[in-house]
Subunit: 178 residues, 3 copies
Amino acid sequence: MDIEKELLDLKTKVNEMPGQENKLSMIVFSGELDKHLAAMIIATGAAAMGMKVVMFFTFWGSAALRDPKKKVGGKDFMSKMFGFMLPKGRNKTKLSKMNMAGMGTAMLKGLMKKKNVASMDQLFEMAGMLGVEINICEMSMDLMGFKREEIIDYPHLDFCGVATFLANAKESAVQLFI
Amino acid sequence: MDIEKELLDLKTKVNEMPGQENKLSMIVFSGELDKHLAAMIIATGAAAMGMKVVMFFTFWGSAALRDPKKKVGGKDFMSKMFGFMLPKGRNKTKLSKMNMAGMGTAMLKGLMKKKNVASMDQLFEMAGMLGVEINICEMSMDLMGFKREEIIDYPHLDFCGVATFLANAKESAVQLFI
Amino acid sequence: MDIEKELLDLKTKVNEMPGQENKLSMIVFSGELDKHLAAMIIATGAAAMGMKVVMFFTFWGSAALRDPKKKVGGKDFMSKMFGFMLPKGRNKTKLSKMNMAGMGTAMLKGLMKKKNVASMDQLFEMAGMLGVEINICEMSMDLMGFKREEIIDYPHLDFCGVATFLANAKESAVQLFI
């Protein structure tokens, strides 16, 4: 047995194995408050434990990354419609269940305050400080007619496609679709 | 080349690689019958195949782990409201689609019986026998005002936070968010 | 130190490690257009990047794999009911949000066409060409009363159970539940 060769082969194999990084890749597809809370709590928790975290916001998820203070013009009719009907930013999303015309959502937000659970604003601030990367799906932006200028300011923000998500995911120890 | 050193380095690297255990980590976030059925069927299936299984019930998922026969008092108004509005236990959850005022849910339960698909009670019993671990999110319990005394009896039950889920997930070959 | 033995032990360990294949395993549980679009875009994207892709359609997901042109008879009452109420095929699914009696779904389809996003039919054709495997959950077929003869023609189609999904998932670098 040629030990040196065997060892080098094994080393190459190990280095090329997918899923070997201490990293979390998350697709945030949903657009509801409860799911976004879960996503942000998992993301900040993982980053605090020393994991590298990449979140890929797509479809309904991308609507919540709009900044309600930023206005953009020049949209076509369909884009205006989508823009109008989808929750404008992370503080306008609703619960997926028991929204009850906003009452359930308000109740939950009240409870979160009372029980000292971090708000969405605080979670985004923590995520920024902890280096959580936020990627936004370009196809979703295009489809829903969102423009880059109306997206939140965030220190680690990027626009990309599903290939980037997959490249991250296959290196990651943990992947979730939320 | 120092073969001995190289070999030891590679061994250390392999031992520290995440995702190397034959283990399934699942977040059960949803609170509906159909999703809980899927989660329990996957969990018991994996355990029967020899995988270690850890389920982390959070948010709406935690409501279904209450035992309707256990009554607890001393709750504040908000906790009573949440406790009242959420499905009390695994046999009270509804379908996420086609519930049709309970008719769809009843239809599915009838079909499950007819086709010899295990009921939720049977799935929990199997899970217990197969050693499936059930963790309940402490933050969700606190937020929704659930008390430990109203949770089901289950042989492998624990209360913990998102850090425990992540520690399990990154060692696991498979992770799912349901 | 017996280097040869140590090396062989390590090699065995590496070869038996789960999650080592450049492979994507997906459970498609949901039955809505938006989630199916996401699943198919991820699947074809991964296959185009050289990943092996296995999709496991279960529960509501399986309804969308029916071919509306194929008619089967001899169903009992319950099966007819389910068959009638669930969307018949991939072009009949609706959005999970903002369906608005079909208007939202029509809007999205219009936008997809305008923005040159592949339609469901094109995505299935691409998936077939790229070798994406589609597995359909036998238990779901049985529960909802679907017959094999009413399922779409697809080059890499198979019927199986949750054990097959798990066997695939634990070898896969990426797993998602959609």
